[in-house]
């Protein structure tokens, strides 16, 4: 089974919550996955990330479908849970998806300061040329549209108030999670279950990213048991890909080495395209006779548009 997911950054194995959830679940259950960390979603078999390539069912794209497939393959982290705990898992996952996930999307993708200074910067540096010019923007628009649909379009006049309300509910959700976790190591005792994977994947980016506008982040940092929960999962299950990834994608982290590798490549492309453009214009000018080199006054050989118009008028 091969998994394609977003590359890591900010101290995490992957920057996208969905990919992170699948990776964490796989680590918990010991599923043998070949992980391809890519920064170009078009390289994944289904065009979006995460994507799981399996022999039996082709390519699966949605996080929940991937985790269900892993469960069917006997990699089940919820095997030891009682029926009641399984019901609680479903309920808390719904709570996360309804209350926390939209606000996370807002914090990373819609909030102007965060998006421009942090998210877009990372994605623009990570994604290869020329996709980095339009993909982050497209993702931004998709997330914005999704939020508008979820929160209702009629609330656009009260946008600020709606935002405050949503952030308040997200803070409440974090507090509830903290109360549910209490002093335990994982949500259901000593061994991790799928709920731990979901909670970790939503909280870890929020905790680790250096956001300029981080009100939700501050609230999370004040909940010590959730911070410890995330750090312990990171150190137990992802000890070596905390930061730079020693795997296939060389453009994974926003380090200077990556930038200088990109630079000559980009610069070369830019210079080439300018030269090709110039050559095309001059060639066309000569071939169509707009400009011709005459052994005469220097003004006639000039390819400037004003001079060309005068020549045409004179010829006519």
């Amino acid at each position: 089974m091969e998994l394609f997911c977003w590359a890591g950054g900010w101290g995490l194995p992957s920057v996208d919550p969905d990919c992170l959830a699948v990776l964490t679940y796989a680590r918990f259950t010991g599923a043998p996955l070949k992980v391809h960390k890519v920064t170009n979603p078009w390289r994944s078999p289904s065009g979006c990330l995460p994507a799981l390539k399996t022999k039996e069912e082709g390519v699966l794209s949605q996080m929940h479908q991937i985790i269900t497939h892993l469960r069917k393959q006997q990699y089940n982290a919820d095997y030891d849970l009682s029926a009641r705990q399984g019901a609680d898992t479903l309920a808390f996952v719904s709570l996360l998806e309804e209350k926390l996930l939209p606000v996370l999307i807002h914090t990373f993708w819609v909030d102007a300061k965060n998006y421009v200074e942090h998210t877009r910067k990372w994605y623009a540096e990570a994604i290869p040329f020329p996709l980095n010019f339009f993909l982050p923007n497209r993702m931004h628009k998709q997330h914005l549209e999704r939020l508008q649909l979820i929160w209702g379009e009629s609330c656009l006049e009260d946008e600020e108030e709606l935002e405050k309300e949503m952030y308040r509910e997200a803070r409440e959700c974090l507090t509830l999670l903290s109360q549910r976790l209490g002093d335990q190591k994982f949500f259901f005792g000593d061994s991790p279950a799928s709920l731990d994977a979901f909670v970790f994947s939503h909280l870890a980016p929020l905790l680790k990213a250096k956001l300029p506008n981080g009100k939700l982040q501050q609230h999370l940092k004040s909940l010590q048991n959730l911070c410890d929960f995330c750090s312990s999962i990171l150190s137990l299950y992802f000890p070596w890909d905390g930061g730079d990834i020693p795997s296939s994608a060389p453009k994974a982290s926003a380090s200077e080495g990556t930038e200088s590798e990109e630079e000559p490549y980009k610069r070369r492309n830019q210079i080439l395209s300018v030269l090709v453009g110039l050559a095309a214009m001059i060639g066309y000018a000569f071939l169509s006779g707009i400009v011709s080199i005459q052994r005469g006054p220097p003004g006639a050989a000039s390819p400037r548009p004003i001079a060309m118009e005068e020549e045409e008028e004179e010829e006519e």
Binding site: L95, L149, C173, Q179
Partner: protein, 276 residues
């Protein structure tokens, strides 16, 4: 409204007692209202009954447009209008009535989580069935949704709403699901609710909370609404403790109160409720 103004209004709300003429607005019961809206409305009615707060149910064809958030039901108390169960619970709490005060923090967390589960799975499944399943759309939803309006307005409004709901389904990833998968999800949700309820009378202790009202609203509506096929209600009927739960709440809170004739009329005559 800024936070200060909100606090001010909440204080004013708390200062006034619950009036006698509080009204709950929903769409027309016999001809217009759809499964999901009826479920939400019944949940609010159940909640207010549980708090012992009298409310009249008023049916208006344009209830959806009157509502401040675009969703039904909404209540008008004095000169304030509040819509949807969540804000209504908070509003009622500001007035000093609350069903969940006796719960500790962990139980409150669980209650909120289970309410989100119902909203996330049951409500979305109801919306999917109503607006994305072609047979149901043709035979039930379109005729009912636009019934108070003349042609062509009824078709236009119905298509507009359908388009809106389908976009939302796409945004949350439900557009790619088949009907079987949606019914699977409903089954999972009912299983979770059934396991949480167990053999208790209500979800928490011996007293009902807003979670009980919400679950009752949805399950009762699913059980008593006739759709093109019985698959949805069959999924709920598989869990006998849930069916008993609905019956218990119906008997306790709806049949005992004669003045609430509208809710009990809905519970007594389910078959005449929807054309097949």
């Amino acid at each position: 409204m800024s936070l200060v103004a909100e606090a001010f209004v909440t204080q004013i709300a708390a200062a006034e007692p619950w009036p006698e003429n509080a009204a709950l607005y929903q769409q027309l019961k016999e001809e217009q209202i759809l499964l999901s809206d009826n479920a939400s409305s019944l949940a609010v009615q159940a909640f207010l009954q549980m708090c012992n707060l009298p409310v009249q149910v008023v049916c208006r064809a344009n209830a959806e447009y009157m509502s401040p958030s675009g969703k039904v039901p909404f209540i008008r108390v004095g000169n304030q209008v509040v819509s949807e169960l969540g804000p209504i619970v908070q509003f009622v709490k500001a007035k000093g009535h609350s069903l969940s005060d006796g719960l500790d923090e962990v139980q409150k967390a669980e209650m909120k989580a289970y309410m989100e589960l119902v909203n996330n799975m049951l409500l979305t499944a109801e919306l999917y069935l109503q607006w994305c399943d072609d047979t149901t759309v043709e035979e039930i939803t379109h005729p009912r949704y636009g019934s108070p309006y003349p042609w062509p307005l009824n078709r236009i409004l119905a298509y507009q709403k359908q388009w809106e709901v389908r976009r939302k389904m796409k945004a949350i990833g439900w557009a790619g699901k088949s009907l079987e998968q949606v019914l699977e999800d409903v089954d999972q949700c009912c299983q979770a609710l059934s396991q949480r309820l167990g053999t208790q009378s209500y979800f928490f202790n011996k007293q009902p909370t807003e979670l009980d009202a919400l679950v009752f609203g949805h399950l009762f509506t699913i059980l008593t609404t006739q759709l093109t096929s019985d698959e949805l209600s069959e999924k709920v009927k598989n869990y006998s403790n849930l069916v008993a739960f609905c019956r218990r709440i119906e008997q306790h809170y709806f049949e005992d109160h004669d003045k609430d004739s509208s809710a009990s009329a809905a519970s007594r005559s389910p078959k005449s409720y929807l054309p097949s």
